[in-house]
Symmetry: C2
Subunit: 229 residues, 2 copies
């Protein structure tokens, strides 16, 4: 183990999805620094099916497969628990027919709890708010939630893509079936949008949509953000 | 095909090596923009063995396998030809015994020729200057060459790694068997170091090594550099 000049403070990496925006970053981590790589068996299989991830040298990087709904120690003092949320398989593994409302090991949310009892959730991709998910999130100290799109047909309207949010496995922020409405009665102390697509107008500090999201009690995540609970 | 907001001017990508620093960038290219992806069969096999590269949608990205020593049109008006140089297989495919002086399809150089007869070479990894390679490069208008390390044991001395340059398949810039000495009699009009490791002192504008490389007629490549021949 080499410390010093190339040391990083990364102790653990937890994958919640096998899609490129969730896993490609593994290839830019230092090759000879130890950390633990946690994922479900489903996502571990995706990673294991790509020899390029052997770059994470098993001498340094320990792969740990975790079971849905079973708590585990993510880093010292922080317990995590994975649970399925509606979603789909990674884009590069899609077949001709795509189930975008799949609940399994491919798209998961994370419950994080600390020593002092704070309870937070990280859910960067979610196709739909189910009753079970609403019940789980109720009363949480913080939820980091899928903020991909403002509106389902946003990418089509902007002329940058052919897919709706639903087709990509993402619920939108706005509208009666959107995330802002879905969280309205859930009593979540801090609501933070993450995983925001570059077409989403909330990224513009001065947009009406940004004002609307903030007025509804949401924060738009930014690079380097730290949240203390 | 979607043009406009997400258009890029990239017409072709040519891989000279299957290692992560040569191929991971493919995962950050726009998914729905057409381009041609050229490589040897050996490197195509590495890419093909990783389903994650299916992100390069075959509807848009055409994979073309090229044969060593056979010229092909890389982009309009530019002919390329690949040739083997001493090197090794990608790190993540290394077995227990590693041949770092392998000449085959895994590490290649590129000869580029334009309509007006200019002749340039791109060789980002090379373990050793062979007589055949020296003869090939003699009199070229430009050579972009492996500038990984200044000195073979540089990473060990700096405490950031356990490997020599030779072990990684790279000849160093300095010393009697280094690239600066090897090019001394080759009459190459422009000599440009690329693929420079962050331990290499030539990256420091004010180092003695930078001055030595420049005095020997070399240019240190930088981001955004353009070269007209």
């Amino acid at each position: 183990m080499i410390v010093g000049l190339r040391h990083t403070p990364i102790a653990s990496v937890l994958l919640t999805n096998g899609d490129i925006d969730h896993v490609a970053g593994l290839l830019t981590l230092r090759e000879k620094q130890p950390f633990e790589l946690f994922s479900t068996a489903g996502i571990a299989e995706v990673i294991g099916g790509n020899p390029i991830f052997q770059a994470l040298d098993p001498k340094f990087v320990t792969r740990r497969t975790v079971t849905l709904d079973a708590p585990f120690e993510l880093v010292d003092g922080v317990t995590a628990r994975l649970f399925p949320v509606p979603g789909k398989v990674p884009l590069y593994l899609e077949g001709d027919v795509v189930d975008t409302d799949l609940e399994g090991e491919q798209t998961v949310g994370v419950e994080l709890s600390g020593r002092h009892g704070a309870r937070a959730y990280y859910i960067p991709g979610c196709a739909r708010m189910t009753e079970a998910l609403a019940n789980r999130l109720r009363g949480a100290d913080a939820v980091f939630f899928d903020g991909t799109l403002w509106q389902d047909d946003e990418m089509i309207r902007m002329g940058v893509g052919a897919k709706t949010g639903k087709r990509m496995g993402h619920m939108s922020m706005s509208g009666p079936d959107g995330s802002i409405a879905a969280f309205a009665g859930l009593d979540v102390a801090r609501r933070i949008f993450v995983h925001i697509n570059n077409t989403n107008p909330v990224l513009n500090d001065f947009s009406a949509e940004r004002a609307e999201a903030e007025a509804a009690g949401w924060t738009i995540a930014r690079d380097g953000m730290e949240v203390l609970l």
